[in-house]
């Protein structure tokens, strides 16, 4: 039961939040993209680009904030690029996403090598980290205190991002337009909403969110960029989007779940449970959930008439 003790310790719970931060941001980005109608397979590449750009800029200018800003901006630009190719050139968003991921993988490694002559990453560069923040007075709160008392500013930022994304989607004008464009594009265009404009803006936001996650990777917990350091987190975020029902809160919780699994894998290395088992668990759960979820959807589709009626909105 040492195991249980470790898993419920405050340090572990705090670790969950830390480890989950990239997933939290990327999942939010994935939700925005999916809702505007352009599936964002490029979350991975956006995160990676932001991580590299952030570390490089921060290292060279010795200004972590500038680095973070540039990282986020690059990720947003990638989102716009993806949208341009999909919308203007009628390409398949999945393949374009894969292409952008490739571009990011090669581009970041190339940039690092060109600038630093380092094949592995920016470890030689002193790029610093974004500050940790202690919320005053929280130390006395029993569970929450140590849990969120001191975290990196970006980790807290993830919660702020959740609130902002939720607000944007459900309370702000743009969010209404965004959902309209994603769900009923002809209804949107009929009332003068420009599908194109909304998609570009939405995807830029999606990229920016993923970028925040990427910036955390290289400037949050550690202070360097490693080649291909995202290691598939972008794809995990996609699964979180789906698992969470393509909603901000749901995806956020699912991302926490994946983050918890990763944190557990790190901690439980000390015990007999193989880390691979822990790492694989969320994916296995998602796979099973996919089976259950799909069965329900199929029942509805079986009724032909319902399908016809379903076309009427």
């Amino acid at each position: 039961m040492e195991l249980l003790g470790v898993l419920t310790s405050a340090t572990f719970l705090a670790a969950i939040l830390r480890v989950a931060t990239p997933y939290l941001f990327a999942a939010l980005g994935g939700v925005v993209a999916e809702r505007v109608g352009v599936p964002n397979i490029a979350l991975e590449g956006q995160m990676l680009s932001a991580a590299a750009t952030g570390a490089l800029v921060a290292g060279f200018t010795q200004n972590v904030w500038l680095g973070a800003l540039c990282g986020i901006a690059v990720a947003a630009v990638l989102g716009v690029l993806l949208t341009a190719i999909v919308v203007e050139l009628n390409a398949d968003p999945i393949i374009v996403g894969i292409g952008v991921n490739l571009l990011a993988s090669g581009g970041t490694a190339f940039a690092v090598f060109t600038l630093l002559n380092d094949k592995g990453g920016t470890t030689g560069l002193d790029s610093g980290t974004l500050p940790r923040v202690t919320i005053p007075g929280l130390d006395f709160v029993p569970v929450l205190g140590p849990l969120i008392g001191t975290q990196n500013i970006l980790t807290l930022g993830a919660f702020v991002a959740l609130a902002l994304v939720w607000w944007l989607m459900y309370r702000a004008r743009f969010g209404f337009h965004l959902r309209a464009v994603g769900e009923a594009p002809s209804a949107a265009s009929m009332v003068g909403i420009s599908s194109r404009r909304v998609k570009y803006l939405g995807m830029a936001l999606s990229g920016a969110l993923a970028g925040c996650g990427g910036v955390f990777l290289s400037m949050g917990a550690v202070s360097f960029f490693l080649r291909d350091m995202t290691a598939g987190r972008g794809y995990i975020a996609l699964a979180a989007v789906f698992l969470g029902g393509v909603r901000p809160v749901g995806a956020f919780v699912a991302a926490l779940f994946f983050g918890a699994a990763e944190a557990a894998a790190i901690q439980l290395g000390a015990f007999d449970i193989p880390t691979q088992f822990i790492t694989a668990m969320p994916y296995a759960v998602t796979l099973i959930a996919l089976c259950v979820f799909s069965t329900r959807v199929r029942q509805v589709q079986k009724d032909w008439r319902l399908k016809r009626r379903a076309r009427l909105v």
């Binding site: 702000a172 209404f176 769900e183 209804a187 008439r305 909105v313």
Partner: protein, 521 residues
């Protein structure tokens, strides 16, 4: 939001909306709408009626900017206007409620209504104001809705009212309703009509697109009949009879003649007993088709024929009942088993499931026999045999294409249908299930297809033919069934003296029943 308060319909004011010489021609030369002159008076309820494909929907889409004219002009309040998009139409006070309602499912009713013009600031949409405005509007025109109900969870009636309110909220002075009662229960339809009358009394002009004669005569001030893209006539409702309107709707100028033989009938090749399809759980169908005869099924679309044909083909499960083919029970047989027993199917929507468009004619044409000799043996395909057979079939069925490998997508509608007919008929079927066999097909191909269907009949096949084209049915059928609301409302064992008008009346629910079973419609 303003509603005009002008005088009584047609009371000496210029028409609020006028279409002059309006024409819509598609790239392949087909006319959806041709030479239409129509004037809608201020403050009237005007219905545009016609069969499916008559052009009534297209005509209104032209007025609303969803389609572009290829000739003619649209005149609003006496001024010629260019309506390039729905946005233009809305600015001119024209609103349209489509059959598919065009609402955003995850937004509430109120949010949908104010979409694009949301109250509040960019950072905070004032949903309460939106709900209040919606409630106010709804109360004023007496179209009750719950403003805070999410559209995806709202009833169809609510959704439709929301769509109407949306158009009104944008200052519509002319409201076009496209087949609004198609998805409503009779009760909801009554509520809709009451609301429409109230709106008219407030000065709104309403255009109804419909094919339901009884409803149209109940609600309209004037009625325009369209047929094959042309405007046949415009009447004051008071001057019309249902029978007269039915005749105008379904008649056809050109009639095609096909010679028929006198085959000996094989009784009960297809027997359908107590069959319940997914269309209507309350109605059971019962009929037979003999080998050597063509039994036609008449009916306005979506009255159950589609589901019936799909169930007989094995694409939909039967809820109850028995289907036998030459006394073999095929009720639970798979599509493949039915085809192997000699069932051939011409589906109603060839683009949806009649062809694989990106693949060649040859692959499409052997899809029912590829696994048999000589097209393949031991799982190995013989492409040269297939191509040769395809070329032969193409010649026999007059498919105009240079090569058997041409992709189906490159063929015209008529040619594509001929490929399908070639495949289905060349297998020498026992039973042919044909739905809308000449939809979207040019006259020349039509004639040929008719000849082929009759030839199949003459060689002993049982043919069940569902069509929205009455002329076609009367030309081809030996016997006729009429379906309405999911069950058979009339049976004609002899077509002597049966005119399109008579059948039309049954289709439209106008006439008294002949030989029905299963209750009153």
């Amino acid at each position: 939001m303003t509603i005009d308060h002008e005088g009584a319909p047609g009371a000496g004011h210029p028409p609020i909306l006028e279409l002059r010489g309006v024409e819509k021609m598609y790239a392949n030369g087909v006319f959806a709408v041709r030479g239409v002159d129509l004037a809608i008076n201020r403050g009237e309820i005007h219905s545009v009626i016609g069969e499916n494909g008559a052009g009534k929907s297209t005509l209104m889409k032209l007025a609303y900017g969803l389609e572009q004219l290829t000739a003619g002009s649209v005149i609003v309040d006496g001024t010629v206007r260019s309506i390039g998009s729905p946005l233009d139409a809305i600015k001119l006070g024209i609103g349209m409620v489509h059959q598919n309602l065009e609402l955003v499912p995850s937004l509430t009713v109120a949010e949908n209504i104010v979409l694009g013009a949301e109250p509040g600031s960019p950072l905070w949409v004032n949903r309460r104001d939106a709900a209040d405005a919606t409630r106010e509007l709804a109360d004023r025109v007496q179209l009750p809705v719950n403003p805070n109900r999410q559209v995806s969870e709202a009833s169809v009636g609510t959704r439709q009212r929301a769509a109407i309110l949306k158009a009104l909220g944008r200052g519509a002075r002319v409201l076009i309703l496209d087949e609004p009662t198609a998805v409503l229960t009779p009760q909801e339809s009554d509520e809709l009509f009451a609301a429409v009358r109230r709106l008219r009394d407030e000065g709104l002009t309403v255009i109804f697109i419909s094919h339901k004669l009884d409803e149209v005569r109940e609600i309209s001030d004037r009625i325009t009949v369209m047929r094959q893209g042309r405007l046949i006539a415009t009447h004051h409702t008071a001057d019309t009879t249902e029978a007269g309107l039915a005749a105008e709707m379904v008649g056809r100028a050109v009639s095609l003649d096909v010679e028929r033989g006198n085959p000996i009938l094989t009784p009960d090749v297809l027997r359908v007993e107590d069959l319940v399809t997914s269309h209507s759980p309350d109605h059971a169908l019962e009929f037979t088709v003999a080998g050597g005869e063509i039994v036609g099924i008449a009916g306005i679309e979506d009255n159950g024929q589609g589901e019936l044909m799909a169930t007989l083909a094995g694409l939909l499960p039967a809820r109850r009942g028995i289907v036998t083919l030459n006394d073999h029970d095929i009720t639970r047989s798979t599509v493949k088993q039915r085809r192997d027993r000699g069932v051939a199917v011409v589906s109603e929507d060839r683009l949806r499931d009649g062809a694989a468009l990106s693949l060649g004619i040859d692959l499409n044409i052997v899809v029912d026999r590829y696994d048999r000799a000589p097209y393949s043996s031991w799982g190995i395909l013989r492409p040269s045999v297939i191509r040769h057979a395809a070329a032969e079939l193409m010649a026999r069925f007059r498919v105009k294409a240079p090569d058997a490998t041409v992709p189906m997508s490159a063929l015209s509608g008529g040619n594509m249908q001929k490929v399908i007919i070639a495949r289905e008929l060349s297998s020498g079927p026992l039973l042919l299930l044909a739905s809308q066999p000449t939809r979207g097909v040019d006259i020349g191909a039509m004639q040929f297809i008719y000849e082929q269907i009759v030839a199949a009949r003459d060689s002993g096949a049982a043919v069940l033919l569902a069509s929205a084209d009455l002329t076609e049915l009367l030309t081809l059928s030996d016997r006729l069934l009429v379906m309405r609301n999911g069950h058979i409302v009339a049976r004609f064992d002899s077509l002597d003296g049966i005119t399109e008008q008579i059948v039309g009346e049954h289709m439209l629910g106008v006439a008294a029943h002949v030989d029905t079973r299963g209750g009153v419609s």
